[in-house]
């Protein structure tokens, strides 16, 4: 992999082209691959979620498009959304309205930089890996607020504000729950964290950390039972009521991409990343990630929505103290073990 890259660069150097050109080409290729991966996996996830929800509710779900169990349904949906008329509400702030989905998608995309699909299959192993994800994920909230505000619709604003409050509240326990792992490994780099789990997955020593992370991550994704920002019955659909067509598709894409990201991070931090017998590393990684995604979908279709105050109580009065306790105990054990 690296050798191929070097050869690629050296070819350009021989032609006397400045090194920025091949670098840009590599960047473009990587970005395209990531976007392609996101689109495919999101389409799969949407189809999957529809099937899971249907089966949980003793239905079949989409069965017609594409033949076997309606596998092409998502593709058809995507084409429909692409072809739809682009509507911008009259009172909307056009610039912000157009910018918002891009910001949200950019945040979702950027997070893929640090997902370690395999020992060498990572876009960039930053030495602040986990922190990078945490900081970049907060950008989503800005996009959501932009979307909600620019729609000039009180439901969207309410949804956006709820979303922001929720994301800000749950980010704290999320960060603190991850600290246990970071303290144990002593590094923020995703690769090193995964490497450290060669012998034992952190889900065992950091079980509470894992639970807190998972809860907070579901809340970060605004999924049931924490989906009050989008609560259909109260807010129509939250911050993206006014969006339609392609812009809506981008929001949808970003949402599922985020879901994939938090699951992938959970896999890397707690479930041993790519470690596993027989199968190739990247396959192990995907299997674990999709297992977590499955759990998230399962929860969505079985649990009821929390009230706002219950949500805030859970975040601040239960998860946060537990996360701190987890951190303190981890620290104590580390100190005693020396």
């Amino acid at each position: 992999m690296e050798k191929a890259l070097e050869r690629f660069y050296s070819v350009f150097a021989e032609w006397g082209v400045p090194s920025i050109v091949p670098q840009l080409i590599v960047m473009l290729v990587v970005v395209s691959v990531v976007i392609l991966f996101i689109s495919v996996s999101v389409m799969f996830m949407i189809w999957w979620e529809r099937k899971i929800s249907a089966h949980i509710q003793v239905r079949y779900g989409p069965m017609r498009v594409g033949g076997w169990h309606g596998w092409a349904q998502s593709i058809a949906d995507g084409i429909k959304l692409l072809l739809k008329e682009d509507i911008i509400p009259a009172g909307a702030d056009k610039l912000v309205f157009a910018l918002a989905p891009m910001v949200v998608f950019a945040a979702a995309l950027a997070a893929y930089v640090i997902i370690p699909f395999g020992p060498n299959l990572i876009v960039r192993d930053l030495n602040i890996g986990v922190l990078f994800y945490i900081s970049i994920s907060s950008l989503t909230v800005v996009g959501i607020i932009m979307a909600g505000w620019s729609s000039n619709n009180k439901y969207s604003v309410l949804g956006a504000l709820r979303s922001a409050a929720q994301a800000v509240s749950y980010e704290v326990p999320l960060v603190v729950s991850v600290l246990g792992v970071i303290m144990t490994v002593g590094s923020l780099s995703m690769i090193q964290i995964v490497e450290a789990q060669k012998r034992i997955w952190f889900v065992i020593p950091q079980f509470f950390g894992f639970l807190i992370y998972l809860t907070a991550a579901i809340a970060e994704c605004n999924r049931l039972p924490f989906d009050i920002p989008e609560a259909e019955s109260e807010l129509v659909a939250g911050f993206h009521v006014e969006y339609s067509g392609m812009r809506f598709a981008i929001f949808f894409l970003a949402e599922y991409a985020n879901m994939f990201t938090v699951s992938a991070i959970a896999t890397a931090l707690f479930l041993g990343g790519w470690h596993g017998p027989l199968l190739p590393p990247w396959l192990w990684f995907l299997i674990k990630t999709y297992c977590i995604i499955f759990v998230m979908m399962w929860l969505r279709w079985t649990l009821a929505r929390l009230r706002v105050d219950q949500l805030m109580n859970l975040g601040w009065k239960v998860l946060l103290p537990l996360a701190f306790l987890n951190m303190g105990i981890t620290g104590l054990i580390l100190v005693i073990h020396g």
Binding site: S19, I20, V96, S135, I136, S137, V142, I145
Partner: protein
């Protein structure tokens, strides 16, 4: 001009442009969004300066925290339709003069007075050593800042809390 320099100038232009937008945009929400871009520009400059941790902190705190706080405040106090209102006060002209003078002086002082190392020193940066410094040499300021944060939190809550109806 090397690639780094090109990147620097691009980033500088981007940051300054966004900053100007923050100050000059008529719609306060646009200002806030421009502010996000400014913060990102500065974060990118930190990366250029090998301060990756600080860049992450910058994004986390400024974008994830302060901007969202600002947006909250804006939404609680302004309306989307509030357009065409004067955004600057009467002293804009004289302020521009003074600010420009100060800028000119700073640039002058910079170009004339500083003969420091032109090239950066070899990067000896590690997040770990930053953390160690914070908890050893700078532990006292660290604690003081923690107390300051606590005080700010209490103060903000008390200020923002609606006063109870006096009975």
């Amino acid at each position: 001009m090397t690639v780094t320099q090109a990147v620097f100038f691009l980033l500088a232009a981007f940051t300054l442009g966004a900053a100007l937008l923050v100050v000059l945009a008529t719609n306060i929400v646009h200002c806030a969004i421009a502010l996000v871009f400014t913060f990102f520009g500065v974060a990118a400059l930190y990366v250029l300066l090998d301060a990756e941790f600080l860049a992450a902190v910058q994004v986390l705190l400024y974008v994830g925290g302060i901007t969202i706080l600002l947006l909250f405040a804006i939404m609680l106090t302004s309306r989307i339709s509030a357009r065409g209102v004067k955004i600057m006060n009467e002293q804009a002209g004289i302020s521009a003069l003074v600010v420009f003078a100060i800028l000119a002086l700073m640039v002058f002082a910079n170009l004339k007075g500083l003969v420091l190392a032109a090239a950066p020193l070899p990067a000896s940066y590690a997040t770990a050593s930053l953390g160690r410094l914070l908890l050893t040499t700078y532990v006292l300021p660290f604690e003081v800042v923690s107390i300051l944060l606590l005080a700010a939190m209490v103060g903000a809550i008390i200020l923002a809390k609606r006063e109870r109806e006096k009975d």
